[in-house]
Symmetry: C3
């Protein structure tokens, strides 16, 4: 069992789980935005609120990390995991805000499918983070990390199809610029999800 000597007052695993839950919420709102683009502005504001909530979790964790004596994982790993979880939510926020203010006509199937991969990646992050407390779960966590990589690969393929179609079918340069930006910012979210998976898997590798 990994979790020894953790001071009662603060539970870093709990903090990872909360941040991951915010990431799942943000991802689902992003998907909702692609499926209900008429409500893009209010949904963008909801995502902004989620981003602030995640910032608070991050700041609290950072503050405690400076103060507690004994930590359940190496301090630098807790630091890396928290920062990268926060990055995912930041990028979902950036992506949704772009999609809202760029005033596209309506989301493409590719963008909806990319948002679905983002939801899938965030759900797997939440699973992986939940498994992190006990070494007996590490084989499952490794599988979750692989699933996060697969979601990134899928988003990457979608980006390529989307761009190929964009340059073939759209002739208006401004529309091309907008969509290229949206697709790339969606794909960038999955890169950050992969960075979380790498940090989590790095911990497992160190611990096993």
């Amino acid at each position: 069992m990994l979790r020894r000597f953790i001071p009662q007052e603060f539970d870093f695993f709990d903090c990872f789980e909360k941040a991951a839950a915010e990431a799942v919420t943000a991802a689902k709102l992003l998907l909702k935005m692609t499926e209900n683009y008429g409500d893009a502005d209010p949904i963008a504001r909801e995502i902004e609120a989620v981003e602030h909530a995640c910032d608070d979790i991050t700041h609290q964790a950072m503050d405690r990390l400076n103060k507690v004596f004994i930590t359940p994982l190496d301090r630098e790993d807790i630091h890396a995991i928290i920062i990268r979880l926060d990055d995912v939510v930041d990028l979902i926020h950036a992506s949704s805000s772009r999609m809202a203010f760029l005033h596209i006509e309506k989301p493409t199937t590719h963008s909806i499918n990319m948002a679905k991969q983002i939801v899938r990646g965030c759900e797997k992050i939440a699973d992986a983070v939940r498994g992190l407390r006990f070494t007996k779960n590490y084989e499952q966590v490794t599988k979750d990390c692989i699933a996060i990589h697969e979601a990134e690969n899928a988003a990457d393929d979608l980006l390529h199809y989307a761009l190929a179609e964009l340059f073939t079918t759209v002739k208006d340069p401004i529309t091309v610029i907008k969509w290229k930006d949206i697709y790339e910012s969606l794909e960038a979210v999955t890169d950050r999800q992969e960075a979380v998976a790498n940090a989590l898997h790095g911990v497992i590798v160190k611990m096993s």
Copy 2:
């Protein structure tokens, strides 16, 4: 006191401070360029000279890191801090050179404000790096790191406003491409500043 057993001949903290000072100089020149765009070319050359000076500091530090026996922080942390400080100067250089050669008509208020955030972030990096020598300063260094994050957030908001305005007001696609590129390259500088803050805060978290 952290700074024990440092060989007399090389002071890594001094090296961090020198690199951070070059970053401040580069950032101020970038701001000067946005405010005096008529002199963009000579200012771009000045920034290039600063970048070379920072490269020399980096190479000297790397060389010493290979040779000295005892270091004041973990070797890999010194390595990460030096590389990331150098990255900030590299990105300021890249950003200024884009701004010079893209031949825009004149800088927008948004780009001037982004350059101001870059100056602010670099000044806070210089403060943080100066505080790194002694653990008694670590609370202040943590505050400096938070200020660097705030500068990044501010630049991110400016990027969003700037892009929203760009797509609403500018109709010429080439001008849109140029400005989007400039805004994004300015914002990328603040991402690298945040990476420095993360490396510095990671050290503090490990040491406290």
Copy 3:
């Protein structure tokens, strides 16, 4: 001698060498594509096969890293090196697939020269990785890492010249968007190569 107590059944250095060899192969195919653009599609498929081969090497290494008891380098460093080698191949693949599907008329001299720097960087990565087994090679590995940085700098300069020329000579916005994307994705490969160099040099710094 570094290489003590490695279990007979798995050699991580061998695995680094295999991944680096795939990176060299991918880079040479990318250069071939820029020089024989008429064959872009079949060459893109060859690069995709190389990317899958590298994925297999990565997964095998990750799997072993979870299972073996004693490793020749710190587990987190093996993890970082493998991930970053895989990233280089991923980005070469992304870059080549963009170049193939964007249907440009023919590669420019700048893009050919950027591909040459990518080949040079990958060859130096292969050299560096080969030297990693024994501390006696570390001075040479450091030189290889510097050469990788130089290739990145050269690619960066080429990007700037290429973009300056692009905005001066090309008037069609869609063509500008396509070429900007290709040049930037080629330069991004060399950034990932630099990340490998940083990981390798970080190990050396820790070990010396």
